[in-house]
Symmetry: C2
Subunit: 397 residues, 2 copies
């Protein structure tokens, strides 16, 4: 019977008969291995490789020369081979964080075949691992009541298309009978409706902060801000297309103009608090730009506004009524005294100066806002931090 069970197991996991090979092929290795002292060991079985490196955001950055100048790029470290197994252990413990990495095998970038846990960021797929402790504990799935994460579609009358979004409803939503406030959470350029729930760990952060009483139970709506797309690549009738950042309809006013249709859809499909005091909007980079413009276009819609590393970079060549009369519209918005206008950025972000100028303008007008600055730049690490800082400020009465 044992042999039979094994055969069944081998066959039961067959998707084109791959897994069978995986089960009897090669030595069993673990990679990555988070050691007790929080150092991390990476391993790869590649007896024919001549050189194996690991690269990831857990390593110090290094300068990279590009056609566009010198940039901080990800660091690399060499794996050492013994009996066909390549290995590298970090020289010091890693701080709590969600990290990403890939291998470079004879120059070819590959994901770690021993680690099925991967995240896509635009056109790049990397492996991930998490060092727990500190703020990173918000990014973990813990044994707390879990909300529901739904992928659903709304019909946009003005665009004449169905569009996909991700909705987080807090634990207990289905049966509580209560109405909830709504936080609209927007991604950056090249991202989509999956970005905040995958790279941003939004569901874990909300679950944990609500369970600890640090955040109010709320609905979080994660839209797709690229109007040239109905949904993330692979989720539309275009099929398995390659992701790209070169999308035509991202920062030209259409998304901002159509946004009340999203709010209307959410208000019709969920038990929401249908007034300004029950609505927040925030986003990263392009999503911060969108949040800034949407909140001023509709000054009675959102009481809480969050700009995370916002791309406040008006391209004068883009013509849209949304981008006209900025000062008058901001005056109208701030005259109505939003409950919170929150600006966060990293001190090495390439958008730092643009944000400083925007804050200076707000200061000059006497508009009240809250400012939060972190080290480092335009990276998901910062956006997860901003989410954990922003969410506790919302919907406090």
């Amino acid at each position: 019977m044992k042999k039979y069970i094994l055969l069944m197991m081998l066959a039961a996991c067959s998707f084109g008969a791959y897994a069978q090979q995986a089960l009897w092929g090669g030595s069993k290795i673990v990679s990555p291995q988070v050691n007790d002292d929080k150092t991390v060991t990476f391993r790869l079985v590649a007896p024919n490789a001549r050189e194996v490196k690991v690269t990831g955001d857990f390593l110090p950055t290094q300068k990279i020369n590009t056609p566009f100048g010198e940039f901080d790029g990800p660091g690399t470290a060499d794996l050492v081979q013994k009996d066909g197994v390549w290995e590298f252990t970090t020289t010091s413990p890693l701080a709590p964080e969600l990290y990403s990495y890939t291998f470079l095998v004879d120059g070819l970038k590959i994901t770690d075949p021993s680690n099925v846990h991967q995240i896509r960021d635009v056109a790049s797929v990397t492996n991930v691992f998490l060092i727990d402790g500190g703020r990173a504990d918000y990014y973990k799935t813990n044994d707390v009541p879990h909300g529901t994460v739904s992928k659903m579609w709304y019909q946009s009358p003005s665009l004449g298309m169905a569009r996909r979004l991700t909705v987080y409803t807090p634990a207990g939503y289905e049966t509580s009978g209560k109405s909830y406030p709504v936080f609209y959470l927007l991604h950056g350029m090249g991202g989509d409706e999956n970005a905040w729930s995958e790279l941003g760990r939004a569901a874990q952060i909300l679950d944990n902060m609500i369970a600890q009483g640090k955040a109010e139970p709320m609905i979080v709506v994660m839209t797709n801000g690229n109007l040239a797309m109905q949904a993330a690549p692979g989720e539309t009738s275009q099929g398995y297309i390659a992701p790209t950042m070169q999308l035509p309809k991202t920062m030209e006013g259409s998304f901002e103009q159509h946004f009340p249709e999203v709010v209307d859809f959410v208000d019709r499909n969920f038990r929401t608090i249908k007034q300004k005091s029950g609505r927040a909007i925030g986003g990263l980079s392009m999503g911060g730009f969108h949040s800034m413009h949407i909140s001023k276009e509709y000054p009675d819609m959102f009481d809480y506004v969050g700009l995370f590393s916002a791309a406040i970079t008006p391209d004068k060549s883009v013509k849209s009524p949304v981008y006209e009369n900025l000062e008058a519209k901001l005056k109208a918005q701030f005259d109505k005294k939003p409950a919170l206008y929150w600006i966060a950025i990293g001190n090495t972000d390439f958008l730092y100066q643009a944000n400083a100028e925007y804050r200076k303008m707000l200061d000059g007008k006497g508009y009240k806002y809250t400012y939060y600055e972190t080290p480092e730049g335009h990276i998901w690490k910062n956006w997860r931090i901003y989410l954990t800082e922003f969410v506790p400020l919302l919907f406090k009465k």
Copy 2:
């Protein structure tokens, strides 16, 4: 401004600064490329590689020697190098299907770095592509009304644990006010609550068949049948653990015994038809085994039963009240005349004989069932076919 926008794009997609490299590194290649004649071209930039092969279920199988005997394994094909780019085009057009593949670079199995579209099957990650036409059009996201796919958690009182499940609600569910029948759809050994929605394309199949009037609008509930897990690997407080097939609590009665708690949760959280005529249960391999046992344990619960390549292989050493008195329980079930008892299997499936014996037993008792046989074996291709055959038979009054 153009340069600035480009810099912003480079930075905006940074998850540890990887994507920047991806954007300016290497030549732009497309892989896989589905050609007009439905041949497919695979490409890999690997100037330092000595040998590159592609392996996948689109190639004829080949015999593999293993410690457990000779098996049909996936075929391979050689890519040919020119200027550092390796390439292979299939010699003939491929039939419509969802296919999977990986590369073998100097013997190392890797996913295609040019294709972000991947599916995990237990511990193996492979790339996917789809050739449309025929039945495969059900597996595509088409421009039809889309249902909602939710990841949510139920509390099991008997197990004292929260467990994750995937729920499909049909287009219009949120606002229709109607009650819907429910189809409980179970995975195989090593799978989890993500298997049917990812490998099985269940949401696409339901969207398309409902839109074409071939299936009734229904709720589909996809559970996790491994009671040693709360959820799929990476979705629990265990963190990013490696998937395994060696789970202790899969076919020993506990899952079957606790199943009414799932039905109770669904009936309390969704607008359901709360009676036998509004419930179906079906599953693949271990999920077929579970469906067989659950439906006979609770003969008033499900009017429709589907066994897809069912692992009807009683292990006499496993003791559970669920597995005792099989014949008496089946008699009780069939005396109540289920609306449909449906058995499907591939003619090369290693479970073919066990299913033939089970059918012979049912024949001997005069119990009515419907039988559907396909070529090939214990593979997702067959399970997607069975889903498209089974779903139109459900809840027809």
